[in-house]
């Protein structure tokens, strides 16, 4: 059973040329990375034992590393999510053939483009300082402190509401002062859900490689302006994960 092999796919690229992307260390074994073709589209793949690959740190980083390497050479990369193993090369080519109409549409739109991510997280000290500057909050806090726990129930709720409004106003400031100027340099942008209360921005930008330096610079300008208040988590270059969304369902034949 462990003898059976499958074909793991990493990403799609626009290429008619068979390409050897070297090797990758996958669960302790060295695997060749090769391409499977249909028309001017190709899947970047490796032959691996047929089994379920768990999304542990090592496996996830291998997947990402292969895509990063491909992106060094190829300028049109369509990311595929982690963990997809197919029975044979022929199955992958069949899949590619059926995805081809979408690939054809995507290629010109992502050619030469990369995704970068920016998370902005408020520093706890700064947030605490800021909220205590608000007179209505200070006043309400005093009321809460003076009352017993039960008597102050509704006051605490109101205080919570004020805190929420406070966060919303900061999110708004971050959006207009950081996000909007960056959007001007991007081909497209996407705001993802904020994770946790202190996160003020969670955005992905699709940018042209030619704009990469200018974008980096703009991020640094914004950081310079905000660095005492917030932390930046700036990542990339990624393939356009946040801008490509194709969902496949496989059903068993009857």
């Amino acid at each position: 059973m462990s003898e059976e092999t499958g074909v793991y796919i990493f990403c799609g690229i626009q290429s008619e040329q068979e390409t050897d992307f070297g090797t990758v260390q996958f669960e302790g074994e060295e695997r060749n990375i090769f391409t499977l073709h249909y028309e001017d589209a190709a899947m970047v793949a490796a032959e691996v034992p047929m089994k379920i690959y768990h999304p542990n740190k090592e496996n996830l980083m291998v997947h990402q590393q292969v895509i990063s390497n491909v992106m060094q050479i190829e300028d049109t990369v369509i990311p595929i999510s982690f963990g997809n193993v197919f029975h044979s090369d022929a199955d992958v080519i069949k899949l590619l053939e059926n995805l081809y109409p979408q690939f054809k549409e995507l290629f010109p739109q992502i050619k030469g483009k990369i995704e970068v991510g920016l998370k902005v997280i408020g520093k706890k000290d700064w947030l605490e300082n800021e909220i205590h500057k608000q007179p209505n909050v200070r006043e309400k806090k005093q009321t809460v402190d003076q009352k017993s726990r039960d008597a102050g129930y509704f006051d605490r709720i109101e205080l919570g509401e004020m805190a929420q409004q406070f966060f919303q106003s900061i999110q708004h400031d971050v959006k207009s002062s950081i996000h909007e100027p960056l959007t001007k340099l991007a081909e497209s942008e996407r705001e993802n859900e904020l994770i946790g209360e202190k996160m003020l921005l969670n955005a992905a930008y699709l940018i042209d490689r030619d704009q990469e330096d200018a974008f980096d610079e703009k991020v640094n300008e914004a950081h310079e302006q905000w660095k005492d208040k917030v932390d930046f988590k700036y990542t990339g270059p990624w393939p356009a994960y946040n801008f490509i969304n194709i969902h496949l369902k496989v059903e068993e034949g009857s």
Binding site: H63, I80, E189, A240, K249
Partner: protein, 91 residues
């Protein structure tokens, strides 16, 4: 520059954020039973577009939550779902 971007292992959370359920996503069921499949239903919802002509399609429903080892990834479920192009094909 003070802020440098990277995709290395220090940004594992960022990697997870992307590679589990973005890009081309193939159903959990498929990963398990990929051997011997005969039929694929392709549900293609979307694509990239530029800022002004953004084709807005649905976000895929969160996948493989039970296999995800790290915590704090939930919460991204289907948003506005629309325009499902379905086609059947044989492998």
């Amino acid at each position: 520059m003070a802020v440098q971007k990277s995709t290395d292992s220090s940004s594992l959370a960022e990697v997870i954020d992307r590679i589990l359920d973005k890009g081309i996503v193939i159903d959990a069921y498929a990963r398990v039973s990929v051997v011997g499949i005969e039929l694929i239903t392709v549900e293609a919802r979307v694509v990239v577009a530029s800022v002004d002509t953004w084709l807005r399609y649905a976000e895929a429903v969160g996948l493989l939550r039970d296999e995800v080892e790290e915590e704090g990834l939930g919460g991204r479920l289907a948003e506005d779902s629309q325009s499902n192009e379905r086609s059947q094909l044989s492998i």
